[in-house]
Subunit: 217 residues, 2 copies
C-alpha cells in the first residue's frame, strides 16, 4: 500500500485519485480550488486546498512521506513546472507529471519528472488511427516492440484449411498465437484446421497486420 | 481517403487533426477561437473560425459532406452536446464525441454520438493501475476479452528448463506465445529450453498475470 500525492483535481487528477483509492492506496489530494477539493473528500484519505507552488504547504500535507507524486495540473503550465520541481526537490522517489505540449513535457523531465504523460495528445492519436483503420480497435500494441496483437475472425477463405495448408505465416508474415473456438482457447498446431466462427489471436508488425487485414477477405 | 470534420482545437482536437493529416486524410478543422484556428492552418486542408452550435455555419464549411465528425470541445458541455446533436442531424455517418464525465457521455450518446471518448479519465485510470502494478506497463489488454499480453524476462528459476519441465501453463495458467531471443522471434514448443536473457510473450487473464509476476521471481 503506497502513499500517493495527487496535485490538481481536474478530470485526469480525479480519475487518478478514484482508481488509486479503488486499488486500496493511500491518496493525498490537493488543489488550489476549494470546490474541487471538496468533490474528492469522500474518495481519498486526505485532501487539502493549497497552492502547489508553495513548498511549505506541500510539506505540511505530508509530501515528504509520499512514495509517488502525480502533478495533474493542466492549463497552468507555470504552476505545473514549479510544483514538479518542488516535489522532485523533496526527494519523492517517483514524480509523474502531465504535459500540455512536447516542450512542456521536455521541461517537466528536466526539472525532475520521472515520467511525463500526455492524456489528450495520446487519445487524439489513437482515435485518429482507429478512424483510418477501424480494425485497429481490435488490436493492441505490445509495449516496446512495434508488435500488434489482436483477434481476427476466420475469413471464408481460411475455413476448412489448416494453418500449414494456408501457409499462414509465410502468406501474411503474422503468427497465429491462439485459437478461440466458441469461448474455449487453445494453442494452434500446424495441422489445426480452421472452423467457421473461429477467432484467431494474431501477432505481427503494424504493416504486416495492415496487409493481412486487406488480403484475408 | 476520408473527409473528417474536427470541432474544437484544444490538445485533443489538435492531436486528432495532426495524426489524420499525417495519415493523408482530408481534415476540416473548426473552432470558435480564431487563434486556435490559425494554429492548425498549416496542418489541415481547410479550417474556419465558427461557433459549432450554429448549424448554418457548419453546413457552410461542408459538414454534410463529411464521412466522420469529431466533437473535441472540452469544457463547454452545452456546446459539446448541441454540436453533437446538430452533426448527427446532418446525417454524418460517424460522430465521435469527447466527454467530461459519465453523465456528459451518456447525454452525448443519446443525442447521437456513435462513440464517446474520455481522454483524461482513461489516462488517469491507466496511470493509476501502472503505479500500483508497475509490470502492467509492459502489458496490453487485448480488446474484448480481459486477456493481457506482454513480454516478461525469463527469471532465474526458468533458465535451463523447458516449458514442459516447468509445467508453465499448469503452474501459471498463462500461455507462452512467443520467444524473443536476442531479437529473433520464434514459436515455443513444449521442449523449448529457456535461456538466460530470453523474453517470453505471455498471455493470460489479469489475475493470472498478476499472480505469475509475483510467483516467478
Ligand atoms: N498552483 C496550483 N496548485 C494546486 N492546484 C492547481 C494549481 N494550478 C491549477 N491547479 C488545479 O489543477 C487542476 C487541473 O488543471 P486545469 O483544470 O487547468 O486543467 P485541465 O487540463 O482542464 O484538467 P483536466 O484535463 O484534467 O480536466 C484544476 O483543478 C486547478 O484548480
Ligand atoms: N461553440 C463552440 N464552437 C467551436 N469551438 C468551440 C466551442 N466551444 C468551445 N470550443 C473550442 O473547443 C476547444 C476545446 O475546448 P476546451 O479548451 O474548453 O477544452 P479542453 O478540455 O481544455 O481541451 P483539451 O483538453 O483538448 O485541451 C477550444 O479551443 C474551444 O475554443
Amino acid at each position: 500500500k503506497q502513499t500517493i500525492l495527487v496535485v490538481g483535481l481536474g478530470r485526469f487528477g480525479v480519475s487518478v485519485c478514484e482508481k488509486l483509492a479503488e486499488l486500496g492506496q493511500h491518496v493525498i489530494a490537493v488543489d488550489i480550488d476549494k470546490q474541487r477539493v471538496e468533490e474528492v473528500a469522500d474518495v481519498v484519505e486526505y485532501c487539502a486546498q493549497l497552492d502547489a507552488t508553495d513548498e511549505d504547504l506541500l510539506v505540511k500535507v505530508g509530501a515528504r512521506e509520499a512514495d509517488i507524486a502525480v502533478v495533474a495540473i493542466g492549463n497552468n503550465i507555470e504552476a505545473s513546472i514549479l510544483a514538479t520541481a518542488i516535489l522532485k526537490g523533496l526527494n519523492i522517489p517517483k514524480v509523474i507529471a502531465r504535459a500540455q505540449t512536447s516542450i512542456h513535457g521536455r521541461v517537466l523531465s528536466r526539472v525532475g519528472a520521472h515520467k511525463v504523460v500526455f492524456p489528450e495528445r495520446d487519445a487524439g492519436k489513437n482515435i485518429a488511427e482507429t478512424l483510418v483503420n477501424p480494425w485497429l480497435s481490435a488490436f493492441s500494441a505490445v509495449p516496446g516492440g512495434g508488435v500488434l496483437v489482436g483477434e481476427i475472425e476466420a475469413s471464408a477463405g481460411m475455413v476448412g484449411k489448416s494453418l500449414m495448408e494456408l501457409e499462414f505465416r509465410k502468406t501474411y508474415n503474422c503468427i497465429v498465437l491462439l485459437f478461440d473456438r466458441k469461448g474455449s482457447r487453445f494453442l494452434p498446431r500446424p495441422d489445426s484446421v480452421i472452423q467457421e466462427g473461429d477467432k484467431l489471436l494474431v501477432a505481427g508488425t503494424g504493416e504486416d497486420i495492415a496487409q493481412m487485414m486487406e488480403k484475408k477477405d
